[in-house]
Symmetry: C2
Amino acid sequence: MTTPAPRPTDTMRYTREELTAEEIAAEQALFGPLAGATRELVEAVVRTEVDAEEVRAVTAQVESLVARLRARQMPGPFGVRFTAEGTVRGHGNAVVGLRNAVAPPLEVQRDTEQRRAWAEVVLGAQYEGPPGLVHGGVSALLLDQMAGEAASAGGRPGMTGTLTLTYRRGTPLGPVRIECWIDRVEGVKTFVTGHISDDEGPTVHCEGIFILPRWAREARAGEPLGDVLG
Amino acid sequence: MTTPAPRPTDTMRYTREELTAEEIAAEQALFGPLAGATRELVEAVVRTEVDAEEVRAVTAQVESLVARLRARQMPGPFGVRFTAEGTVRGHGNAVVGLRNAVAPPLEVQRDTEQRRAWAEVVLGAQYEGPPGLVHGGVSALLLDQMAGEAASAGGRPGMTGTLTLTYRRGTPLGPVRIECWIDRVEGVKTFVTGHISDDEGPTVHCEGIFILPRWAREARAGEPLGDVLG
């Protein structure tokens, strides 16, 4: 994804890393399938009914794969890495991270003119809360990310200030759509609204306030923010 | 965990299943380690730096383990199952589920007199949002569950109606504490408040309104709700 590259002076630990487009594509071709298989494993662990002996055998196998992957690993989390061309890689992100099997992951679509972002995804058994329904907190997790994506799509990247979720009815596990857009802008605050929906309409509504970080404010020094946004 | 067993008449698909305490303990001893190893795998996939050939070999192994677990599996999500003794098993739950590698999982502590619930957990690389920080949506996910646990602990189980998160500062990955309590009760609404904190204090504050479901209302027909809660 390409968003305005954060400044190295930011207080958060963004990392600059020079990679070619080919190297980035190769990384995706390598880690996409590994994370995809791991996502399947997570879901299979919830739903399996194989006998106890087989569960124990698989457990031992998973443990040995962990040891193989940990034979060489980064000292901490993946972080967020960017190149001079503005490609941002948040591969550890809990909602959109290529390498992260906690993430569905969402493949975010953006409309910068409409200052809108959306994604469609099928939520499996590992996202359950009430029986057969998406966990209310999972809806919050997805909406937080998508509200932030909408803010970014509209040229107003930021950290979540507040987020309010209103649950209208249960969201069945299965295919859902998450869609958020910028409602209005007031100074450093961006007001984003949106919802998660199934094929019968919205189930959870969200309103978020995102705060423009200092590096983005400095980038626009002297320009009225409303004008920058058009 | 023991909470009031939902009535079979509930609109949600709770399942009644008769299991002895020994069978439940055996299930935990079997699936706890499998999900634990899978959680480790999720984190290792984010952080590994082994070479491409090894990544591909591990991917093939994970795929074969998925096939073994799927050789016999339940047709849908785990659901929420309860016994006549009131033991509730939500093993697929995205926050507290024993079998769920998306869940940290939280081990919930409860104080029914104080109508309070809390948990301590170490959040690894798979819960990242901004670099080095817990994803804002993950904080929302954990707080939604714990707010619901506090409502239940106070004898007021319910579905989330609204949830408002206020982000005061970033939450570093690592050890966190999530704590929620009932603030007040108004008819079928239970107002819960709480926060997630690191060792320097709260980072994200939450306020939730939980709605008492019909089965719980019927169980108390004729009794003033305030009295039931003491």
